[in-house]
């Protein structure tokens, strides 16, 4: 069964770039990697999804190395409103289960 781990928390300041890494050593060949953002008392919200190399959208970039055993969510120039918990999500291959990472609490300070 795939297992995903993330740092418990990270601190940053407004305007900085933040990189959050997720380890997923047992990712299956066909699995995509998805990242979600969750604010208190709300459901998670989609940020970005990728399969390999690099994906960029209007809010973030996702870097995936060739072995795909980890992925890094990059948030450029964070603001106070980016303070949230960030989760990676992997489809658990043949198990028909979805596996969220342990979550990273990002605290952005002024």
């Amino acid at each position: 069964l795939a297992k995903t781990t993330q740092p418990i928390s990270m601190d940053s300041y407004e305007g900085q770039e933040v990189n959050i890494t997720c380890s997923h050593n047992n990712i299956a060949t066909n699995d995509y990697i998805t990242w979600y953002q969750q604010f208190p008392s709300q459901g998670p919200r989609f940020i970005i999804q990728g399969y390999k190399t690099k994906v960029t959208n209007e809010v973030a970039s996702l870097f995936i190395p060739a072995d795909r055993k980890s992925s890094t969510l990059s948030l450029p120039r964070v603001s106070l409103s980016d303070t949230a918990v960030y989760y990676c999500l992997i489809y658990g291959g043949a198990t028909n289960k979805l596996i969220f990472g342990t979550g990273t609490l990002l605290a952005v300070q002024p």
């Binding site: 979600y36 709300q42 998670p44 989609f46 198990t95 289960k97 969220f100 979550g103």
Partner: protein, 114 residues
Amino acid sequence: GAGVSQSPSNKVTEKGKDVELRCDPISGHTALYWYRQSLGQGLEFLIYFQGNSAPDKSGLPSDRFSAERTGGSVSTLTIQRTQQEDSAVYLCASSFAALQETQYFGPGTRLLVL
């Protein structure tokens, strides 16, 4: 409404009672998911439906938990003989198709078992 809705938003019940949690997915979404999030914890996958079928129910925590989906739309998560450890936020999500697609989450149902 354009988003996923869940009801009730909050539920307080006594230990041993049964509860039903409802999820209305986004119209046209064929896949529906249930998750549990205990206080201060991450997201625990429970079950997903493709249409009205759930390919794998082994993620449900115990045989007191069951879920069904009818008409390819509304889903109900039922917890029988609730226990205090069932207290959590139960989140529902839907997507156009299963598993790899972007999921849209509802606001959750906060269940407190006294």
